[in-house]
């Protein structure tokens, strides 16, 4: 009975949405979206591109034009990490028993891979304003390298305390850079460094700096979440 009710509601919703969207002239047909009438055309305007200085326009939007959204997004991740730690952690914790014993090769190999993955993640973060990637995937890759260490060694625990400090410092620096914009320029999060030439590594003003902070913050937060999921109370 309840299944039928749910089925009916979702089918009605789906049909309603598809019909309404196909019958609306203002809604662009798939594959024919034109950015001429949208605000995006101004993001691709040559003056604006040179002002921001980032070759990757998506990065320019994420960190530049809509940097405030990104601050909010980092906050969302921060508060979820906080919540996960709040619900799952207790004063004394030990690793969950994974039922397999890692051998020597696995332990050593994972340490080597850890270094390689870490370097890759920094490359991705540093080139966020030139190539696809940036702080979010980079940070997630940092976290997955930590995850690798956790999986390869059943005794391993990273230093959660230092992650918390890294997380707090990176987040605070993000806000402080925003406030510096208020002091050195006129507005919050405004770029107060030279924009440089589009396409060079040292360009785009504060964008790479903010992306590095985001990467560190995302990495430490997700690593903290992973640690919380892989540990449990001592007594259990």
């Amino acid at each position: 009975m309840k299944n039928l009710f749910g089925f009916l509601i979702s089918v009605t919703l789906g049909i309603f949405m598809i019909l309404a969207l196909t019958n609306t002239n203002a809604f662009p047909e798939f594959g024919h979206a034109s950015i001429d009438n949208r605000v995006s055309s101004q993001y691709l305007n040559i003056d604006n591109v040179e002002e921001v200085g980032s070759g990757n326009i998506v990065t320019a939007i994420v960190v530049g034009y809509r940097g405030f959204d990104t601050l909010g997004e980092v906050t969302v991740l921060f508060i979820s990490a906080l919540g996960v730690a709040f619900m799952l952690s207790s004063p004394k914790q030990k690793r969950i028993d994974l039922k397999f014993k890692p051998n020597f090769m696995l332990r050593v190999g994972s340490k080597i891979l850890f270094g390689i993955i870490l370097v890759t993640s920094f490359y991705i973060i540093l080139h966020g304003h030139l190539t696809p990637g940036g702080g979010f995937p980079g940070g997630a890759i940092i976290a997955s390298s930590v995850l690798l260490l956790y999986l390869a060694d059943d005794k391993f625990r990273s230093n959660i305390k230092s992650f918390k400090i890294l997380e707090g410092v990176a987040g605070s620096l993000f806000v402080i850079i925003g406030l510096l914009g208020l002091v050195f320029a006129t507005y919050f999060l405004q770029n107060f460094l030279p924009a440089g030439h589009v396409g060079e590594l040292l360009s785009a003003g504060i964008i790479p700096i903010i992306y590095i902070l985001i990467g560190l913050k995302v990495g430490s937060e997700i690593a903290g979440i992973v640690d919380n999921f892989l540990t449990e109370e001592e007594s259990a």
Binding site: N56, V58, T59, I96, D97, L98, K99, I124, P132, G133, G134, F136, P137, A140, I141, A143, S144, L147, I222, I225, V226, F229, L230, E232, A236
Partner: protein, 83 residues
């Protein structure tokens, strides 16, 4: 019918099939794996629609870390049951 159309129809159909399986499969671990596959297909569709940034992020976060979190949750539960 262009090459893009064929691929997009195939991806769309796969998306729906796998979503259906993920919702209706009996074992939870299967649902989790189907979710991971769904995420990977979403990456394909992002690449098709010229969104490399999103594709990278979804590949790392969506199909990597989220799946890991699901699996860890299930692992800790199973272990407690075994005791």
């Amino acid at each position: 019918m262009t090459f893009f159309d064929i691929i997009s129809i195939a991806v769309g159909a796969f998306l729906l099939i796998i979503a259906f399986l993920a919702i209706n499969s009996k074992k939870i671990i299967n649902s989790v794996l189907f979710l991971s596959a769904l995420s990977m297909l979403a990456v394909v569709s992002f690449v098709l629609m010229k969104a490399p940034d999103v594709a990278i992020t979804e590949a790392v976060i969506g199909s990597g870390l989220v799946t890991a979190l699901f699996v860890f949750t299930l692992l800790s539960i199973n272990r407690r049951d075994a005791k």
